[in-house]
Symmetry: C2
Subunit: 313 residues, 2 copies
């Protein structure tokens, strides 16, 4: 099968692709329409985002399964305290009471993004909101790396997982965005569902070796990522054996050998989340297909310094 | 005279004001509609910008008198080489051939803003473009700190200076934006023209003591700034004697004593351009009225950590 999504994400002579992580998390609150709009303004044509579903089955764009104290404020304007509500236990209407517009600088998570702007009145968007924006003619070249978040508390619940995949795929198809969408997950069982339910969209396999996992303040994906005991060099073969088209390793895990192996297997290799100048340099030197970053301007600058660009026009 | 602009820029209990410098120069190309739009999205209600005029008398938003190699690309997509054209020697139509969308990372100026996004097809805007945006109802609380750039080659040319002031004031009045605009300059003769021609707008006096001047890669304002030989403590009295309402010192020049003196004289004190966390901290501790920054998110974060905000809502 020829996937039109693959050339959009694959490196070409003179091009390494740039993916805006959760929009542009270093600049604006993650997974918000404001963040995606900024990335588009900055000429970023590949957007990474996280999707899960509300209790009433609305696909919404948010990373963690619970509304997280460090990033969500309640109706009183204060960051949440006490138990963090589950997104899947709230209706979409109920979600509107929460403000996703700014990080708590006292939290470890907030301290990771000291330049992020603070907005008020920002709602967790629906997947449909972003898809509608990208149907505008000026965004016809924009592609999505759409991560589906499987609930660690429902790992054994096949029906719940399939219902989530079906809800997401149905939204994407309704917007006729399937030729511009790649389905992406840490949960390889969920990706198997994606491959069966939506064979027209490439499957993108996230990996993170346990030794390098260090994303402070975020939902961990260790529980769902079947790579314990693997070495970096094993990963591309594992992805290819699972029928994947994209391999998305954590940037500290990738090596020249594993990248070469991925290329030999015909995989598109996307590294995440690359934010520090020296790490960006190393990824450019390795020659990955695409760099997923919270700081699009920083990656653009370094690509240009190497005479490279991130899009073909 | 009561100026409605003054409460918009003055500190209040719980509030220190935040001004987006040239939009948000750390994030997006300076003095562009894209940069101003970002600042507005980020909840910044006070915008600083620089205005000069083309040969055909169009007020345009740009800082340097010449199209500068490090920040302007020609029709070939390359940063300018050779002699830098003067803005005042080009027509507005002629300016459209140039792209103001990105910095050259090889230049000293470019290296000052490593996170700035790189855009293509960005034109130097007219003052009228920004004024039209701000007339939209959702921007009714936005105020401008409008710097008028006097051409160092025309310092003796009183008629040219007055024509520039008149062109700017006429645009502002046509948009009915004078109650939301402060006229701002390093050139105190030009500010005297402003006070005479447009007494309904406060005059904002920029100062920078020669010892601390270090803005690499920008037009210097030393030639027009009559503060040589002054100490920090002299400056507020000089501004008050000139009939100013705003004193805008370079942030390294201000002291607790000079701020107290400015306050005793009834001046609004705006510091520029404050980008590093430790400098932002010092300005918050001093208790200035407003902080002008290239990184609005960074200042927002630090204000919030002190329980402060930047706007009254």
């Amino acid at each position: 099968m020829q996937y039109p999504q693959i050339p959009a994400f694959a490196a070409q002579p003179g091009l390494i692709r740039l993916i805006g992580h959760r929009g542009a998390r270093g600049v604006l609150p993650e997974n918000t329409m404001e963040g995606f709009a900024f990335a588009l303004t900055a000429g970023v044509e590949l957007l990474e985002l996280d999707v899960t579903a509300t209790r009433d089955g609305v696909a919404v764009i948010t990373h963690n399964h619970r509304l997280t104290r460090s990033m969500i404020r309640g109706a009183d304007g204060c960051w949440l305290q006490g138990e963090e509500p589950k997104v899947s236990a709230l209706t979409y209407a109920g979600l509107q009471a929460y403000d996703a517009g700014g990080l708590d600088g006292r939290s470890a998570y907030g301290q990771r993004f000291p330049d992020q702007a603070f907005l008020t009145g920002v709602r967790i968007p629906r997947l449909a909101d972003l898809l509608a924006l990208l149907q505008q003619p000026e965004h016809q070249n924009v592609h999505l790396l759409l991560e589906i978040k499987s609930d660690p508390e429902l790992l054994g619940d096949t029906a719940a997982r399939q219902a989530l995949v079906e809800a997401v795929v149905s939204e994407v198809r309704q917007a006729k965005m399937q030729p511009r969408t790649v389905l992406h997950s840490f949960d390889w069982d969920l990706l198997a569902d994606c491959q069966r339910i939506a064979p027209e969209m490439p499957a993108s396999f996230l990996t993170q070796l346990p030794d390098n996992a260090d994303d402070v303040g975020e939902d961990s994906s260790k529980a769902v990522n079947p790579v314990a005991g693997c070495s970096a060099l094993d990963l591309p073969d594992r992805v290819a054996a699972a029928g994947g088209q994209f391999w998305c390793p954590y940037f500290l895990d990738i090596t020249a050998d594993s990248l070469a192996r991925a290329r030999a297997l015909g995989l598109v290799t996307v590294v995440w989340t690359v934010n520090e100048p020296e790490d960006i340099e190393r990824m450019i030197a390795l020659g990955v297909d695409a760099i997923c970053t919270d700081y699009p301007g920083r990656v653009q600058r370094q690509l240009l310094m190497h005479g490279l660009h991130w899009r073909a026009d």
